[in-house]
């Protein structure tokens, strides 16, 4: 995963790569909570994401709830496999998919 802050620290772009599952979500969540301070625009770039488990979805949902209070969250470049997961889990209705 890559973290990049732009726009004077207001925009945080998080690139998720490979598989996000219960093995690596604690690290992802910890990093996000550390970086989220003062961010008004959170962008998840899922170009390189191949799989996301329910644990990963939980992180997305948590971040979405947090960003509701301090700005916006958008998910970009969702590929077919991950989109299928979002469809099955009904997350297409929860997330702001660009």
């Amino acid at each position: 995963m890559n973290f990049e802050k732009t726009n004077g620290g207001n925009t945080l772009t998080v690139e998720l790569i490979g598989e996000v599952d219960s093995m690596n979500t604690p690290e992802l969540e910890e990093k996000l909570l550390k970086e989220i301070e003062g961010v008004t625009e959170l962008i998840f770039d899922l170009k390189g994401l191949e799989y996301i488990s329910s644990a990963g979805l939980r992180v997305l949902l948590t971040m979405q709830k947090m960003m509701k209070a301090q700005g916006s969250m958008v998910i970009k470049n969702t590929n077919e496999e991950v989109m299928e997961i979002f469809k099955v889990t009904g997350f297409v209705r929860l997330l702001n998919l660009a």
Binding site: S22, R58, V88, R93, L94
Partner: protein
């Protein structure tokens, strides 16, 4: 408890064994060391005594050299002329440690530098020896003109290649004693100069080890054949060592006397140091052992805590398993079977089935996002809410999920959610009304077709967001139709090569097993999954439920 006693016994034995080993090795060391110290001390004493003898010998030689220096006065003197001899010796001054220095001519007539005669020495051993051209030291003591017992040193006077007289000097016993004293090697020892008969010629008896009345050392120790060596004498309370060595002059011997305690004190001193070291090493070892015991206790405590946590997890797993109903309905309209294989760590999968009334069978397949005790507890809550709302409210499926969703959203601070498939089958008609809150698509087999995923427009999982609506869908089952419900543990089972089991393989196996009974079908599915994952620990719960409509 038995283990504890056993380990205590081991530690106790180790301490005892250590002490015994230290004691035994110390005792062995002590005795061998004592012997070693004794041997090396004896050889040290012997060497020291030899050194004393050598020093004494050198001192006598020095005195002879000094006498030689007096010979020059008589090179041109006619020694037959007694008065000339007398005048010359009186004119010389004393030299060396001597009591008297005198001169004798070839007849043995003597005169010393005090102008007195020592009598005729013609027959004395030292005169004979000196007249043969050698420096001489008397073999025995003589009584001089003053009645003093003296040792006499003599050197020849040579004129024209002939020995025509001697210059002699006398040592009283006191002078000899002082020579011995100044040669002595140790404050702890006394030394004695013995002639060949064992008579004490000189002594340094500062310590008083040997009574002054004793004039012959044979009274102390039998000197026969005792030319050289270390000998013990005296009684146990005052055991002494006599170290005997030849002086290298006549058959004289030098004897050093020391109390045996000199050796035993040394030995004891060393032993004491060794005891200190042994005790230090022992203490350090016991301290080390103690630390190891403490460390092991700590580890055991940690292991116990670990075991407790493991036990708690096992309890959670047990609760989870016990929550699943297994009294499958025996109705002519349906056949139902379900299994749940929990992962190593407790997960949040659950299935449920219950009759809302005689004709309506509710089926639940759900998966809480997350693992461990929080997921298990959330599962318990979700399961009972779903069951209670379903039975009590008499609501339709979509409404049940909506009510349950809002109930689960309350106080859900940890962001958990639960994907839920809820269906209600009217047994009499075969109509299955269902709603899918973010759960895996069920696989359905219509009577003569293959299993297919029932792809629908899934809603978000329960507890993800408040006030969601859950639209219903429905199908009508015909006789022989089969519904397969499962959690993501089935398609997402992973093998060592990081490949996933997948829904295609799942459907393939379902088709293969479709004419078997449901127990066999689910058992074989599980076996296929296990074969696929191989040695990999199942990472997620594997939960499956199958329903066959019998009409």
């Amino acid at each position: 408890m038995v283990k504890k006693l056993k380990s205590r016994y081991v530690v106790f034995s180790a301490v005892i064994l250590t002490i015994v080993i230290l004691l035994v090795s110390f005792m062995l060391f002590s005795s061998s060391t004592h012997r070693l110290i004794e041997n090396s001390s004896e050889s040290y004493l012997l060497d020291s005594t030899k050194a004393v003898a050598a020093v004494f010998n050198t001192k006598l030689s020095d005195q002879l050299v000094m006498l030689e220096s007096q010979v020059r006065y008589f090179r041109d003197i006619n020694l037959s002329d007694y008065n000339a001899m007398k005048d010359t010796i009186i004119a010389t001054k004393g030299i060396g440690e001597f009591k008297n220095i005198g001169v004798a001519n070839s007849t043995g007539a003597t005169i010393n530098y005090n102008g007195r005669s020592s009598g005729n020495i013609l027959l004395t051993d030292y005169f004979k020896e000196a007249m043969s051209g050698k420096n001489a030291i008397s073999e025995i003591t003589y009584i001089d003109e003053d009645g003093d017992e003296v040792l006499v040193l003599a050197v020849p006077i040579e004129q024209n290649g002939k020995f025509i007289g001697v210059v002699y000097g006398t040592f009283t016993k006191d002078i000899l004693n002082s020579l011995i004293i100044s040669s002595n090697f140790s404050e702890d020892s006394d030394s004695f100069l013995l002639d060949e008969e064992g008579l004490i010629l000189a002594r340094s008896d500062g310590k008083g080890y040997i009574n002054n009345d004793i004039t012959n050392f044979n009274e102390v120790i039998d000197l026969n054949n005792n030319a050289e060596g270390v000998f013990t004498f005296g009684n146990d309370s005052s055991s002494m060592l006599a170290i005997i060595t030849p002086v290298g002059l006549h058959d004289w011997e030098l004897v050093s006397v020391v109390p045996t305690t000199v050796i035993s004190d040394l030995s004891n001193n060393i032993t004491l140091q060794v005891i200190k070291i042994v005790m230090g090493v022992g203490a350090a070892f016991i301290l080390l052992l103690g630390s190891i015991v403490l460390l092991f206790r700590e580890i055991r405590g940690m292991a116990a805590a670990q075991a407790r946590i493991g036990a708690e997890l096992n309890v959670a797993t047990k609760i989870q398993a016990d929550m699943m109903p297994f009294n499958f309905p025996e109705r002519k309209e349906v056949s139902l079977y379900a299994t749940m294989s929990p992962a190593k760590e407790v997960g949040g999968d659950f299935y449920d089935f219950f009759f809302i009334d005689h004709d309506h069978l509710a089926l639940v397949m759900a998966d809480v996002a997350g693992k461990g005790v929080p997921a298990a507890l959330f599962m318990v809550v979700a399961k009972s809410i779903l069951r209670n709302v379903s039975i009590m409210s008499r609501l339709n499926v979509g409404k049940i999920l909506a009510v349950a969703n809002n109930a689960l959203c309350e106080n859900n601070n940890s962001g958990l959610f639960v994907t839920t498939w809820l269906g209600v089958l009217t047994l009499s008609s075969g109509k299955l009304v269902f709603a899918n809150a973010g759960h895996e698509y069920p696989a359905v087999k219509r009577a003569d077709g293959n299993f297919e995923l029932m792809v629908g427009d899934n809603c978000p999982p329960l507890a993800a967001m408040e006030d969601l609506e859950f639209p219903e869908e429905s199908i009508t089952l015909k006789k022989g139709d089969c519904v397969f419900l499962y959690t993501d543990g089935v398609p997402e089972a992973k093998n060592a090569a990081a490949h996933r089991f997948g829904t295609d393989k799942m459907l393939e196996i379902l088709d293969r097993e479709s004419d078997k009974d449901l127990i066999t079908m689910l058992t074989n599915m599980k076996k296929e999954i296990d074969d696929f994952t191989g040695t990999m620990d199942p990472f997620d719960d594997v939960t499956m439920m199958a329903l066959k409509y019998l009409g």
